[in-house]
């Protein structure tokens, strides 16, 4: 008993000081919510063509300063709508969104950058002008502007193509133009809406590495939407799994990867476990999207035939 008392008193006494005395030494990113969503939902009002549609929510989510957050979900679950709400491109019909403590409604706040799935490069501008376009609303000296554009082009590996037009580049390179155009503005929150969706698997893996490198170098918060479970498992600190429509956060999976990582994490045994957990959560939702509740293994092939 006499030995038990100091033993039970000791752990809190020894566990507390390191946690509070040197939080900056911790490997974890500082836990300040950069963007927070409270009860966010989106219902599209009824029109002559269709009845009202509850597309999304309610969703509660805090994006921590500097983290890499990925979202996976069945098609049509409202992933892109969620991204547009965070960006201020679409207003939520329920709940509230804040970015750095200020409410977000239907304007994109300063400090937020978005890269879309579709090619958003301006075909009438050269690569260099495309990237510089990102700085239109930023008051900078000519030299600083030039330097930032040059740096962004260097980061995405397009320095040799500064004078080319997007039509002369491949799809992956055009997507990198858009990433560079976002980077020059030095956003504190980068929203990526399936930016590699249209690229082939190898290019996607390499682009993933580039995004990881950018994330490390810029210390921005990254919010990535993807339909590829392996991409989410490879890139993110946390992965939100969304349910079928109306999309809700069904699970948030912590990957526990070190900040200094690259696509080789796919070789680790935990990678398989994370992907498996994501699929376990998602399979049922994906079947719901296809109009099936669940199918026994023997029926699965029949279901697939039925759906296709």
């Amino acid at each position: 008993m006499s030995a038990g008392a100091p033993a039970s008193a000791q752990p809190p006494a020894s566990a507390q000081p390191p946690a509070s005395a040197e939080p900056s030494a911790s490997a974890e990113p500082p836990v300040t919510a950069q963007a927070s969503l409270r009860n966010v939902g989106k219902t599209f009002a009824a029109s002559r063509e269709r009845s009202a549609l509850h597309a999304l929510g309610p969703i509660d989510l805090d994006l921590k300063q500097g983290e890499f957050f990925a979202v996976v979900g069945p098609s049509g679950c409202g992933k892109s709508t969620l991204l547009e709400i965070i960006a201020g491109l679409t207003a939520a019909t329920e709940g509230s969104v804040e970015f750095e403590g200020k409410p977000v409604r239907s304007d994109v706040p300063e400090g937020v950058g978005v890269v879309f799935q579709e090619d958003a490069s301006f075909p009438w501008l050269t690569v260099e002008d495309n990237v510089a376009f990102g700085l239109r609303r930023t008051a900078l000296s000519g030299g600083e502007r030039e330097r930032r554009v040059r740096d962004a082009l260097g980061i995405v590996g397009l320095s040799d193509f500064a004078g080319s037009y997007p039509a002369q580049l491949s799809g992956g390179m055009r997507q990198r133009v858009c990433i560079a155009r976002t980077l020059v503005t030095q956003p504190r929150l980068i929203l990526l809406d399936e930016p590699f969706g249209a690229l082939d698997q190898q290019t996607r893996l390499l682009m993933g590495d580039e995004v990881l490198r950018l994330w490390r170098e810029t210390s921005a918060t990254v919010f990535l939407i993807t339909h590829a479970l392996d991409e989410a498992a490879m890139l993110a600190d946390r992965i939100g799994v969304m349910s079928a429509r109306p999309g809700r956060l069904k699970d948030v999976v912590q990957t526990g990867w070190p900040r200094d990582r690259d696509s080789r994490v796919v070789e680790r045994p935990e990678f398989g476990a994370i992907t498996a957990r994501l699929w376990h959560q998602l399979r049922e939702e994906s079947l719901k999207t296809l109009g099936r509740v669940d199918a026994a293994p023997s029926e699965r092939s029949a279901a697939a035939v039925h759906v296709s």
């Binding site: 960006a87 491109l89 304007d107 994109v108 300063e110 937020v112 950058g113 978005v114 879309f116 579709e118 090619d119 958003a120 301006f122 075909p123 009438w124 376009f133 990102g134 239109r136 609303r137 037009y165 039509a167 002369q168 858009c178 503005t185």
Partner: protein, 249 residues
């Protein structure tokens, strides 16, 4: 491409050569038309004499003015209309039937209201061209990918900057098509009204020469109009080709 160009040149050269032969063989009588080489000689003489300078300046200035007004008003109205869905839906059928209206029928009315000056002529040319610019610009604006508009919002551009820097450049290949029509319509409007009733201009001079059997003036002036119109048009076509080439089409 070069072979096609060669063929095209051959067709035009052949037509001129045929005309030359028909004129020299007196199949076409000199009172009807001069041989092409004489037309060219008279053309150079007429330009050198400088007595058509005032007419040329008047017609060209009015054409450029009418074209500029049609282009500016057409672009502005198209951008505004595209943002007003109800108004757009109301006006769409009117645009579709607009070119069934013979605009020249209003010319006497415009003269009554504005007097026999440049204004009624510019107005006719403007009216002919403006709707072509509106329709083509709207067509182009409708095809601007939504993701470019979202990008403009993410980059926090205002409505004017979005129109000038994103939507209009994105729609440029369609807009050039409208501008090419507007150039042709501007020439038709100005020269046509000068023909009908005017106190000067190339159209007026052609009509005057025609009434006086003055082939040495009439044909060179027709040639002048032809060259001016083709020159304007090729300038726009060149721009159009550059736009398409940049976009890899």
């Amino acid at each position: 491409m070069t072979r096609l160009r060669l063929y095209r040149f051959a067709v035009i050269a052949g037509a001129i050569a045929l005309l030359e032969i028909l004129c020299l063989a007196r199949v076409i009588d000199p009172i009807t038309m001069q041989a092409p080489h004489l037309v060219l000689r008279d053309f150079l003489r007429l330009l050198a004499s400088g007595r058509m300078n005032a007419a040329i300046v008047k017609t060209m200035a009015n054409t450029v003015l009418a074209f500029g007004l049609a282009a500016a008003a057409g672009l502005l109205l198209a951008v505004l209309l595209q943002r007003r869905r109800a108004l757009r839906m109301t006006l769409d059928p009117l645009f579709a039937t607009y070119y069934a209206v013979p605009v020249f029928a209003f010319y006497p009315f415009f003269i009554v209201v504005f007097g026999l000056g440049d204004l009624p002529q510019i107005l006719i040319a403007f009216m002919l061209g403006v709707v072509a610019v509106i329709v083509n610009t709207l067509n182009g604006l409708d095809r601007v990918p939504a993701v470019l508009l979202k990008t403009a919002r993410v980059l926090r551009l205002g409505p004017v900057e979005t129109a000038l820097r994103v939507t209009l450049p994105a729609a440029a290949p369609h807009i050039v098509g409208g501008l090419k029509l507007a150039v042709a319509y501007a020439f038709i409007g100005i020269i046509g009204s000068e023909f009908i009733l005017s106190r000067g201009g190339i159209g007026y001079e052609i009509n005057f020469a025609y009434n006086n059997f003055d082939n040495a003036v009439m044909y060179p002036l027709i040639l002048l109009i032809l060259l001016a119109s083709v020159a304007f048009n090729s300038l726009l076509s060149r721009w159009e080709r550059t736009l398409h080439a940049r976009r890899g089409r």
